[in-house]
């Protein structure tokens, strides 16, 4: 294969778009916390950017996209430190440089880890989170990305695939998950559920007020996510072609329909269409169309979006009934949305778009539906069990939660020695009453004297 400059340019742009989703997610989550814990929420996402990027180049890319080492379960260690990807045959993946493909996939690993943090807002030791993030990426995300995203096929002279050597779910079994409904959203959602159970409820939840402190921030975050998601979904074609165009338009229309679906449920159930509902519905739609954007036509993308928007609007109420404090609804939006999108492919997939497989509604019978359901269950269970074990071990050894006093005071000041806002006159923002006395750094004060 030869490198195509158009494909390469689009994937470089897509990689940057997908990276931008994680700060977007940080704002989306950060606005939903209370004012005293917004910085910690942002830091969990930024921490994931830092840590996962390093792990990816060290060994993550190799475990995820190295030549299969064992029955489609894990990649080998050929590409540790990005070895054998800079020159020669190994430097080309399809029609783009391998380094570009690796950079693109890195951004997926980052946001998948960051997504989990929404389940454990306000109460998580930062060091424990970083440790969890590193271990989880290593034993859960990297293998699951291999299962779902790694394709390695032998083709005959006519270009027909005659043997699959890639990941066991995506390549060998033929599960349709274009951009990560299972590998990203079910995976992160199940991990979020496990950690919410390991850490337990926040003090006062759900009796006290935990209402979002800054909905404008939530909408900015949702907007950035929506923007970046075009890289996530349309970039997953790993080319600038007709399929990336289909993924792009499907992403837009499903997200729009999901937002409307969520708002309709709210209006009927609660009496008001809310901004938080609009932001949440849009994200639910983005999640749901992620696996399906290259399997359905735009009309079914609308149906899929509207359905999942409505489903997620109802699902976020589950935690109150079941009594687990999934603080920012990682389960209700990402696990439920990702699973719904992945399973609905089994109904709505059309050969016009997939180029092969059909869903139940297009005469494909139950075959594809079965594969989709299996992938959701396997990825969900694997992630939940591993996450629960990692979480428990961290909790029993170094402790996963901050103290009750620190939590009530606010994790921003107790864990990071900062506060997100300084909006009372007593805090000094009006300049009338100085509540804090500045102590300059030693060197600066010596200079003054």
């Amino acid at each position: 294969m030869k490198i195509d400059s158009g494909d390469t340019a689009w994937l470089l742009a897509s990689s940057a778009l997908v990276l931008f989703m994680t700060p977007g997610l940080a704002f989306f989550y950060g606005g939903m916390t209370r004012a005293k814990s917004v910085l910690n929420m942002l830091m969990m996402s930024f921490g994931a950017i830092g840590l996962v990027s390093v792990l990816w180049v060290l060994y993550g890319y190799s475990l995820s996209f190295g030549t299969d080492a064992f029955h489609g379960l894990i990649g080998n260690l050929d590409h540790i430190g990005m070895a054998k990807t800079l020159t020669g045959d190994g430097a080309i993946s399809g029609t783009i440089p391998t380094t570009v493909f690796a950079a693109f996939q890195l951004m997926f690993a980052i946001i998948t880890v960051a997504l989990i943090s929404g389940a454990i807002a306000d109460r998580t030791k930062f060091g424990a989170w970083m440790l969890f993030a590193g271990v989880w990426a290593t034993v859960v995300y990297f293998p699951v990305a291999h299962w779902v995203f790694f394709f390695d096929d032998t083709k005959d002279s006519a270009g027909n695939v005659i043997a699959h050597h890639g990941g066991w779910l995506g390549d060998r079994l033929g599960v349709l998950d274009f951009a990560g409904g299972t590998a990203v959203h079910v995976n992160a959602g199940a991990a979020g559920l496990a950690l919410a159970l390991v850490l337990g409820k926040r003090h006062g939840w759900p009796k006290e007020r935990f209402k979002p402190h800054n909905l404008s921030l939530v909408l900015i975050g949702a907007g950035i996510l929506w923007f970046g998601w075009f890289g996530f979904n349309a970039g997953s074609a790993v080319a600038a072609n007709n399929l990336s165009g289909i993924a792009f338009i499907n992403t837009q229309v499903a997200t729009a329909a999901a937002m409307l679906g969520w708002l309709i449920v709210e209006k009927v159930r609660d009496g008001h269409a809310t901004t938080l509902g609009a932001a949440s519905g849009a994200v639910a739609g983005l999640v749901a169309i992620t696996p399906a954007c290259a399997s359905v036509n735009p009309l079914f993308a609308i149906i899929l979006g509207a359905l999942v928007g409505g489903i997620c609007a109802v699902a976020v109420g589950l935690k109150y009934k079941l009594g687990f404090d999934d603080s920012l609804d990682v389960v209700g939006v990402h696990l439920v949305g990702g699973a719904s999108g992945a399973i609905l492919i089994g109904f709505f997939a059309t050969a016009t778009v997939t180029g092969g497989a059909n869903g139940l509604f297009f005469g494909g019978g139950l075959t594809q539906l079965g594969k989709q359901t299996l992938a959701v269950v396997v990825v969900g269970l694997y992630s939940f069990i591993l996450s629960w074990i990692i979480g428990k071990v961290i909790d029993k050894t170094m402790g996963f939660r901050i103290s009750a006093e620190d939590e009530v005071t606010g994790i921003d000041t107790t864990a990071h020695a900062e506060s997100g806002y300084d909006f009372t006159s007593a805090g000094g923002s009006s300049g009338l009453i100085a509540a804090a006395t500045a102590k300059p750094l030693a060197s600066a004060s010596a200079e003054k004297e």
Binding site: P206, R209, K211, E266, D270, G277, A313, V316, G317
Partner: protein, 112 residues
């Protein structure tokens, strides 16, 4: 000397201020306060979860007056602040022992 204190609906502040300055009052003090009376709070819904907000935002006005003016001031204030709906607020009057103007040191009625 009396201190007239009023807790009123925030959007009525401008009307009250106009009414009081028409009476020739030279100054007043305003603060944002929260509380509840018969109006109680309101509910907000976030992702389907209902939150009851117990305290309603109000504006508190403090104005120092000569004892002989007090009825006119209270009447004007009540007139200006009234909408006739629940939550219009309250006005009360307390006696004041001494008032000092900081700049000049004037005391008593001269300082009002």
């Amino acid at each position: 000397m009396k201190l007239v204190t009023a807790v009123v609906k925030p959007f009525k502040l401008e009307d009250v201020k106009t009414a009081l300055s028409t009476l020739g009052l030279a100054g007043l003090t305003v603060s944002e306060v929260q509380g509840y009376g018969r109006q109680k709070g309101h509910t907000e819904v976030y992702r389907g979860a209902e939150y009851t907000v117990d305290f309603v935002p109000k504006v508190k006005i403090d104005v120092l007056v000569d004892g002989v003016d007090v009825d006119r001031v209270v009447d004007a204030l009540v007139e200006a602040a009234r909408t006739g709906k629940i939550g219009d607020g309250k006005v009360w009057v307390t006696p004041v022992d001494e008032v000092v103007r900081v700049r000049t040191g004037e005391r008593g009625l001269d300082a009002v």
